[in-house]
C-alpha cells in the first residue's frame, strides 16, 4: 500500500451545540487505504467523518488534505469536490437514477456528453444500468443505496467517506453491496473511510481499523491487531472479547506469567511483576473444547474441566457459556457442537494457549 497521507488531522477539536464532541490528537488516512471506524453510538464517528468531509468546521486544530491546510468558508467547495460522502440513508433526489448519478457532475459543470459517458460507466459498474430511467422513489433499499454509491463514485473522488452505508439493509443485500464496494475500492484505488457497526464488514473491507469512544481515537491498527490485541478493556469488550478477567500475577518466569483468577491458575505470555493486578482477555474463538481426559493430547498451557451452562446460537456458530471455576465463553461451529454432542449440563474440557491470552495492565 502507498503510505502517502491523503488526509491528516492534528490536535483536532470539534464542538457541536456548545459541547466538545471530538478531541483527536492525530489522524491519518493513506493513499489507497480503506480505514474502518468502529465505536459505539455517540463515539464521534459521524462528527469525525463530517469534519473530514469539510461539512463541519473544527473549533481548533489542523486539517490537511495532501499536506495542504483545508480551506474554510466558500473556499471549502473546491476541497469538497475532491471528496465524496455517502450517508446511511440514500438521500436521493426526486428524479431518475440517471439524474441522481449525474448530480455531482452537473454541479461541477461537466459537459452533457461527458456526463452521459461517465454516468453510464458508473451505472454499469454498480450494476444498475437497467434502472437508469426509473424514479428514485420507486427503488428498493438496496437499489437506492447502490444509486447513492454510484452518485458518489461518479465524481471520481480522491477520498470517499462512507457513514454506515449499509446499516439499514437486510443481510443478503448488504453482502452483495459489500462485495461490489470492495471491488470498486480495490480497482479504483480510492482511499476510503467507512464507519460501521458490523465488525465482519470492517474486517473484510479495511486495511486498518480505528476504534473511537467519547470523541477520541482509542486504538488504530491492522484489523487482526485490534481484534486480538485490544489496547484497552473498552476496546476488548467492543470487539467481542467476552472473556475479560482480572487476576493477580503469582510468578513470572522468562516471559511467562502465572496468574491467579478466582482461585484458578493460568499461564499467559507477557512481562509482569509478581503481585501485580492485571486485566486480560481471550477471544471466544480461541477457546478449544473437547470431551474426555483433561490433560490428554494438547499443547495448550491452560486446560480447565468444566460444564456447559448455556448455549446461545449465533447463526453460523454457537456461543457456549462454561463454568470452569470462572465463567468462560467459547465459540464453536454448529458442526463441532453436534460432533461433541454438547448440551447444557454436559461435562467439557476447555483449553487455550498461553499466547491466546492478551494482557493489559489494570491501571
Amino acid at each position: 500500500m502507498n503510505r502517502t497521507p491523503v488526509l491528516e488531522a492534528r490536535d483536532l477539536r470539534v464542538r457541536r451545540g456548545g459541547t466538545e464532541v471530538l478531541a483527536i490528537d492525530s489522524f491519518i488516512l493513506h493513499e489507497n487505504e480503506t480505514l474502518a471506524l468502529i465505536g459505539p453510538n455517540g463515539a464521534g464517528k459521524s462528527s469525525l467523518m463530517l469534519t473530514l468531509a469539510g461539512l463541519l468546521e473544527p473549533a481548533s486544530g489542523h486539517l490537511l488534505f495532501r499536506s495542504e491546510q483545508f480551506p474554510t468558508g466558500s473556499g471549502a467547495t473546491g476541497y469538497r469536490r475532491r471528496i465524496a460522502m455517502v450517508f446511511q440513508e440514500p438521500l436521493l433526489f426526486d428524479t431518475t437514477v440517471f439524474g441522481n448519478v449525474a448530480a455531482g457532475l452537473k454541479i461541477r459543470g461537466v459537459p452533457p456528453g461527458e456526463i452521459r459517458e461517465r454516468v453510464d460507466a458508473t451505472l454499469q459498474r454498480f450494476r444498475i444500468a437497467h434502472l437508469a430511467g426509473r424514479s428514485a422513489r420507486k427503488l428498493s433499499g438496496g437499489e437506492a443505496q447502490r444509486t447513492s454509491l454510484a452518485r458518489a463514485f461518479a465524481t471520481r473522488p480522491e477520498v470517499i467517506i462512507l457513514d454506515e452505508p449499509f446499516a439499514a439493509l437486510d443481510p443478503p443485500t448488504r453482502q452483495l453491496l459489500t462485495d461490489d464496494l470492495e471491488q470498486v475500492l480495490r480497482e479504483w484505488g480510492t482511499a476510503a473511510i467507512l464507519s460501521t457497526h458490523d465488525q465482519g464488514e470492517a474486517l473484510r473491507l479495511a486495511d486498518r481499523m480505528m476504534v473511537m469512544n467519547n470523541g477520541a481515537i482509542i486504538q488504530s491498527g491492522p484489523p487482526s491487531e485490534v481484534m486480538n490485541r485490544p489496547a484497552t478493556e473498552f476496546v476488548a469488550s467492543f470487539v467481542g472479547m467476552e472473556n475479560i478477567f482480572t487476576g493477580t500475577t503469582t510468578t513470572t518466569i522468562g516471559g511467562l506469567l502465572y496468574l491467579e483468577v478466582a482461585g484458578t491458575h493460568l499461564e499467559v505470555m507477557g512481562d509482569g511483576v509478581t503481585g501485580e493486578d492485571v486485566v486480560f482477555c481471550i477471544r471466544p474463538e480461541h477457546v478449544v473444547l473437547s470431551v474426555g481426559t483433561p490433560e490428554s493430547h494438547t499443547s495448550a498451557r491452560n486446560v480447565f474441566p468444566g460444564k456447559v451452562i448455556r448455549i446461545v446460537p449465533q447463526g453460523l456458530y454457537q456461543k457456549l457459556y462454561l463454568e470452569c471455576g470462572f465463567t468462560l465463553v467459547a465459540a464453536v461451529t454448529n458442526q463441532s457442537l453436534q460432533e461433541l454432542r454438547l448440551a447444557p449440563g454436559s461435562p467439557v474440557v476447555a483449553s487455550f494457549k498461553a499466547t491466546a491470552v492478551h494482557l493489559f495492565r489494570s491501571g
Binding site: L55, R80, F93, T95, T96, G104, I107, G133, R151, T155
Partner: protein, 232 residues
C-alpha cells in the same frame, strides 16, 4: 335559481363581448394579485428557506409569528396599511393610499406569511442530512439552496398557489386601501361586493364566475408546472 342562470348568461355575454370595464377590472386584479404574489414568493421563499436552514435564538417564536401571519384577517391588514399610508401616517408622504400600489402592499402583507410559513415547513420536512449530502457532492451554497428548493418543489408550488389564492380572493384589504375607484382601483372582488350591494346579482355572479375561472386557470397552470418532470 333563475338569478344563477341569469348570472351565468351575463358572465358569458361579458366575456364573449370582451366588455371593456370587466376586462380592465380583470386585468387589474391579475396585475395587483400577481405582483403581490411575486413579491411574496421572493420574500417568503427566501426568508422561509433561510429560517428553515438556520439555527438562531428565538427561531421558534419567529416561526409562531409567521404561522399566525398565515391567518391574518384581510380587514386587519387593510386597516394597518391604511393607518400607515394615511396622510398623517408614518408613510403618508408617499401619497399612495387609494392606489393600486397600496393594494399590492396590502396583498403582499397577506400573502408573504402564507408563502413563508409553507416554505419553512416544506424545507424543514426534507431529510435532515440532505443539505449535507448536497454540499458533499461539491455544491456551492447557492447551488445547495437551488437543489433544496427543487426537492421541495411540490409544497413550494402549493405555497405559491395558496399565496395567490389568498390575495386574488380577498376583498377587505383591497376595498380599504384601494377605495374601489372605478377604472383605477376596482378589482374583481371589490366590484362583486359593490354589484351585490346594489342588487345587481347577475353582474355580481358574472364577476364571481370570472374570478373563479381565473383562479382555476392560474392554479391549473401552476399544477402542470408542479407535476411535470416527475419521473415514473
Amino acid at each position: 335559481m333563475e338569478v344563477l342562470f341569469q348570472g351565468i348568461r351575463e358572465a358569458l355575454r361579458l366575456l364573449l363581448t370582451l366588455d371593456r370595464e370587466v376586462l380592465s377590472i380583470t386585468l387589474l386584479s391579475l396585475k395587483v394579485s400577481g405582483l403581490a404574489t411575486l413579491i411574496s414568493v421572493g420574500m417568503g421563499m427566501g426568508g422561509g428557506t433561510a429560517v428553515a436552514l438556520t439555527e438562531f435564538p428565538g427561531k421558534r417564536l419567529l416561526v409562531s409569528v409567521v404561522n399566525t401571519g398565515m391567518g391574518l384577517p384581510p380587514v386587519v391588514v387593510g386597516l394597518l396599511v391604511t393607518v400607515m399610508l394615511w396622510r398623517n401616517g408614518p408613510l403618508g408622504a408617499l401619497e399612495i393610499l387609494y392606489t393600486p400600489t397600496a393594494m399590492v402592499i396590502a396583498q403582499t402583507v397577506i400573502a408573504a406569511p402564507i408563502v413563508m410559513g409553507i416554505t419553512i415547513a416544506a424545507i424543514q420536512n426534507l431529510p435532515p442530512n440532505l443539505k449535507l449530502q448536497i454540499l458533499s457532492l461539491g455544491a456551492s451554497r447557492p447551488q445547495m439552496l437551488l437543489l433544496l428548493v427543487r426537492e421541495a418543489r411540490l409544497p413550494l408550488l402549493a405555497a405559491v398557489m395558496a399565496g395567490f389564492g389568498g390575495v386574488i380572493s380577498e376583498v377587505g384589504a383591497s376595498i380599504m386601501v384601494g377605495g374601489n375607484i372605478k377604472g383605477y382601483t376596482r378589482v374583481l372582488t371589490t366590484a362583486t361586493v359593490m354589484e351585490s350591494g346594489k342588487g345587481n346579482f347577475d353582474t355580481a355572479i358574472a364577476l364571481g364566475i370570472i374570478l373563479l375561472t381565473l383562479c382555476f386557470g392560474i392554479n391549473y397552470l401552476l399544477t402542470v408546472v408542479q407535476q411535470r418532470e416527475r419521473p415514473r
